[in-house]
Symmetry: C2
Subunit: 142 residues, 2 copies
């Protein structure tokens, strides 16, 4: 599995409050069409703020259990659906627990979720809207 | 506060188990003198695996409360102690709760911790061992 992290997603209880805090720090939100999520470009990766319940649903875990497993997802973005499948297989072979097998996402991507041995959630994603540079950095749409 | 993330630290219950998992994924650990922590270079940032109790202690929070606040710290590395102080002040002014004021760390750095409105922990750090490139990417020692 590629040694990169594309996004850190914080599962938040109050998206507006969380977004306002990072904006008060002087951070500039990426313009991006999706409602209900806020993206910030942070160097060659991105920080996302996303409601806890949506994060739990996407990852195939109970929201009530999120506290213990940390309401955070680390994402690794790949260049194709085939690469997503290959990385999910590698993770499973390494001992990951698949919480949601790779599947088409309603927004046009292809994503799978697993938990590492400590329960930390990872998403392996192909997202046609997010460009990957040659070195694997992710570039949010302007 | 600079719009960057330098490290993601996962607070783990079993460091050897967690490290072995990422190594089975094919990830290569950075050589770095410190015992009791594992660093992986991930593009222009790094992933750290670190015992939960140490993460809690560093951040000035109770380990028992870590579950709810997610056993994860996002770190922003700065170029000087003065920059650490300035970023901590900016975060506090933006509504962050300071959990540990900036102070000298035993390993020779200078660090402060705050919680964002959702309770997610941030560390603002000056670490003389971790090089920052011009664009703010962090480069672990070889």
């Amino acid at each position: 599995m590629d040694q990169r992290i594309s996004l850190i997603t914080l599962g938040v209880r109050d998206l507006n409050r969380a977004r306002a805090f990072y904006e008060r720090l002087g951070w500039k939100r990426a313009f991006f069409g999706a409602e209900g999520v806020a993206f910030f470009q942070t160097g060659g990766m991105a920080l996302a703020l996303y409601p806890r319940r949506d994060l739990a649903k996407d990852a195939g875990v109970e929201e009530a259990n999120l506290g213990e497993r940390a309401a955070v997802t680390l994402a690794l973005n790949m260049r194709s659906k085939e690469e997503v499948d290959a990385s999910m297989a590698e993770a499973e072979a390494a001992g990951a627990r698949i919480t949601m097998p790779a599947r088409e996402a309603f927004w046009g991507g292809y994503i799978g979720h697993f938990a590492d041995p400590e329960g930390f959630l990872w998403e392996i994603a192909w997202n046609p809207a997010f460009r990957l540079t040659e070195d694997g950095s992710v570039v949010l749409p302007d």
